[in-house]
């Protein structure tokens, strides 16, 4: 197969996996662009930030940071806290995002929640080039986000139709990904620990502050369970 045929078939295989992200990012990105627009920023702010940061939640927080006073170190600390979960993704992708040449650099740069989830769980057909498949998943997601944010920034105040509830597409997607993982696993200890610990931390620390304690607690629980889980043969 020639390189361009390999690329094309990888793109064809990757696209259907990104359709829910298209719906979600178009909407969320647009919301973000509109938010920037009404906060007084020109459209090229969300355009450039969606391209260079490509991490939804921190971009929303960035709007407030940019409206406040100049505290670059505080901005860095906030970013590290909000995005600390990416470290988990990286640990899980150490094998997958290696050996694909320059594409690895881009895929690691673009490892948002959605790109990680798809590339971690997707059953890539044997005849499809894995590197190109994961590359196109990342690139398409990046483009959707950029596209939504830029449109929102330009046309922000002009759009009126009832999209209330469309953001549920992201929740639905993570429920499906969780369920797919559940159906693949023989042992559900980790999945149950993830839900249980997260809910407990949400109740204890509240919606704004629960992510860091939840991640620390998940790490703690899985570390304590290492012996039984490895002995019980957690799925490979």
């Amino acid at each position: 197969m020639s390189e361009s045929t390999r690329r094309k078939s990888a793109l064809k295989a990757a696209f259907p996996h990104t359709i829910p992200i298209f719906a979600g990012f178009w909407f969320l990105g647009m919301t973000y662009g509109i938010y920037m627009n009404v906060s007084g920023f020109a459209f090229w702010y969300p355009m450039i930030m969606s391209l260079t940061i490509f991490a939804g939640s921190v971009e929303f927080v960035a709007v407030n940071l940019l409206l406040g006073s100049f505290h670059p170190l505080q901005a860095l600390a906030m970013t590290l806290m909000i995005n600390a979960r990416h470290i988990f993704y990286g640990i899980s992708m150490l094998d997958k995002y290696r050996g694909n040449g320059w594409k690895d650099i881009y895929m690691i740069f673009g490892m948002c929640d959605e790109s990680f989830s798809i590339n971690y769980t997707a059953d890539i057909p044997k005849d499809i080039d894995r590197g190109w498949f994961m590359f196109f998943v990342t690139l398409l997601n990046h483009f959707y986000w950029f596209f939504g944010a830029t449109l929102g920034g330009i046309f922000g105040s002009l759009i009126h139709f009832n999209t209330e509830g469309l953001d549920f597409v992201m929740t639905a997607m993570f429920v499906v990904i969780f369920l797919e993982q559940w159906l693949k696993d023989k042992n559900h200890v980790s999945a149950l620990a993830g839900i249980g610990v997260s809910v407990l931390c949400l109740l204890a620390f509240g919606a704004e502050d629960f992510m860091i304690p939840a991640m620390a607690a998940i790490l703690g629980v899985l570390t304590l369970l290492r012996r039984p889980l490895e002995a019980g043969g957690e799925r490979q």
Binding site: P16, T79, E164, G165, L166, F168, V176, Q181, A191, E230
Partner: protein, 110 residues
């Protein structure tokens, strides 16, 4: 706006740097040439199911069980997603079905 353009650029630069750091860190700490510690390999294997659970909770973090809709539209729509998925096992159908269900509930019912 109280910040100058250069100050804004520095703030955005910090956010770009911080985000990239969280993504590249594991790959920098555990380079390809050296064997990855067994503990990290174990984490790479068992973390994803827990993290997907965390992401589901993260999406639902603002749902209040005691006020407003009491989380009913969310609960019904998630049940719809799960039922559709167990039935058809088609990712797009499950996601689209659940989302349409949620939009109908929040726009027309509640």
């Amino acid at each position: 706006m109280t910040m100058t353009f250069m100050e804004q650029a520095a703030m955005i630069g910090m956010i770009v740097f911080g985000t990239a750091l969280t993504r590249f860190l594991p790959f920098l700490l555990f380079p390809a040439g050296k064997p990855t510690p067994r503990y990290i390999q174990y984490l790479g294997r068992v973390l994803p199911p827990a993290v997907f659970g965390l992401l589901v909770v993260y999406c639902l973090k603002s749902v209040s069980l005691f006020t407003g809709n009491h989380g009913v539209p969310e609960a019904v729509s998630i049940a719809a997603v799960i039922a559709l998925h167990l039935w058809k096992r088609q990712m797009l159908i499950s996601i689209a079905g659940g989302t349409v269900c949620y939009m109908i509930l929040v726009q027309l019912v509640f």
